[in-house]
Subunit: 194 residues, 4 copies
């Protein structure tokens, strides 16, 4: 399996997910500014999910950059990741339409948690396929972001039934943690090149 | 017709099919966990179809890897395959919304059957275009998976009006048969390279 | 403007058009086979439009194969073609839901006519950009298919208010005319290569 | 981050945005020509947005052509641009369904304004990444189009509550300003090549 086709397919799926998500922003019937009010939480959910999917696209690219051979396992681990990400538009719409109510906010976190686990599995399989001197292993290093994210998601899910706003704040926090550009892989690749 | 553009177009169509299918998972109106209950069969249908389309994408890639020349016939056989696969979101939605009732379960199998036949035709055309020493022919060998799948689909369709759950079990079984990674083509290609 | 990016963008748009068209096949509410009956004309319209879009994709590829330089005019003529093709899902849905009634059948033909004109303009611009020895001009030759199609569409539109079924028959006829593989360009390219 | 993957992803997102926009053209229930009347403003909005997105695709391509290194900042500035463009189908639908009423027409302009600002930020980041001899800086030169567009959008938004038709006229005007092919970058690249 060529790496290029895997990347192209993943990019295609991510581009479609990120774009059809906007279809949950249903055109309101009224023509006044007030008609937009019920859409505000839907819009905010959209912004959050857009950022999450953009982070995944970005990190996925960096990870694949450090992957030289695509095995059957890597291919299916990648599809597994895409599966959970494909559910983002659904949970985004449900959370937005119910103004961040408890159950939708928890389900949103559950999908993020599963996607994070799927990403971790994919990363481990690529590292294992590279043997002892795995360049990806060196690149991710301690991988504190990858380790803390699932923990934060789990806390957020548990908190959803107490305070959905705390839950939401944690989702925003995790996104911000990842938004800080991840130069680890770039740095190791640059070092190896010299 | 360049092989690359055919692959890219097929990948595009498959990526879109696999992704818009999630639009059948309509955002429920309630905000409670119970509001999700009617969506469970829709979700399970989605998982099944996601796996089927992923298998097709995977096998399609391996097959095209062993295809060196795209004739007009191969091009149209490929479009014929994409046509049947494009109906998967529709039958997935109908089966899911009617909790695996008889007619929807049978129609789901009919579309899978037509796609399997379309895949077989495409495979035959590629083999024929390669002449006597067809590398693809060597690669698929006895092709027992390709032969048993249509038979199982036909049995599943017939069973739908007796026991839709048996039908569903067969669909899951066929997916599992294919999920076992198909290393035949890879092996033959590797042998030829040495 | 690189030809590759123009091709990739056109392929992307065509792949999406051909795929979202299936969303007009709305999942019926009943679970019986009879629930599918009102969908039969929608399905037939879908098949017809799928074939038309596949023909456009195929011919577009052959034409771009004989295009070496993308000017601003060619780029906009290409977008103009994509615009009319993007309306195909809409007219397909309207024609299918109204069982080939007069006005929808005529509008379907009008969109096909505009797409045919847009294709012709694109072809002329590519030929003109190639100067006197245009390889594309040699390839399309008399271009009887390109000339007869708009005439047939115009007749079909006029007939729609008399007999929509005649109109439909003409649409099928034009599709069949184009389905016969167009080897003109391939032949001229092959001749030039020797 | 490879430039190719950034371009391919941007193209994918733009192709999907431009295409799903047509889903706002809801298939009417009647079969008469009159059933189309309420769709006329939706259709006109669609044409306007199609042209705007086509202009963005075109200009984006030219800009990326003059970009040699993709930094993390450029990558996020590009995603920021795609975010605002992804809202075009929503505002197009709202404006079309309310026949160019004040609030929808103003919001349409607000999204165009934000996209223009996002485009400008992306352009500045690319120029800055190229240092003193930035080829893109030379290419865009005075960039009067880029400077006048936000001003015109702002005027159009302010006018929306007085005369939506004036607002619309300004949107059409800005599109026409950009439709004139932008040969600046091509010219500078050609000069540099000699």
């Amino acid at each position: 399996m060529g790496k290029n086709r895997l990347e192209a397919f993943s990019d295609g799926v991510l581009a479609i997910i990120i774009t059809i998500m906007v279809l949950e922003l249903k055109v309101p019937h009224g023509e006044s500014v007030e008609a937009l009010t019920p859409l505000v939480p839907v819009f905010l959910s959209y912004v959050l999910s857009f950022v999450y999917l953009a982070i995944y696209w970005n990190n996925h690219h960096h990870m694949m950059h450090a992957c030289y051979k695509v095995t059957g396992q890597i291919l299916w681990a990648n599809l597994h990741l895409l599966f959970w990400l494909s559910l983002v538009p659904f949970v985004t719409g449900w959370m937005g339409e119910n103004r961040f109510a408890a159950a939708p906010a928890a389900l949103y976190g559950a999908v993020l948690l599963m996607a994070a686990i799927a990403y971790w599995i994919l990363q481990q399989l690529i590292i294992r396929s590279q043997g002892r001197d795995s360049i990806l292993k060196k690149a991710v290093g301690g991988d504190w972001k990858g380790k803390i994210s699932p923990v934060l998601y789990a806390i957020a899910i548990a908190l959803a039934f107490l305070s959905p706003w705390m839950t939401l704040a944690i989702y925003v926090l995790v996104a911000l943690i990842w938004l800080v550009p991840d130069r680890r892989i770039e740095r190791v690749l640059a070092t190896n090149a010299t």
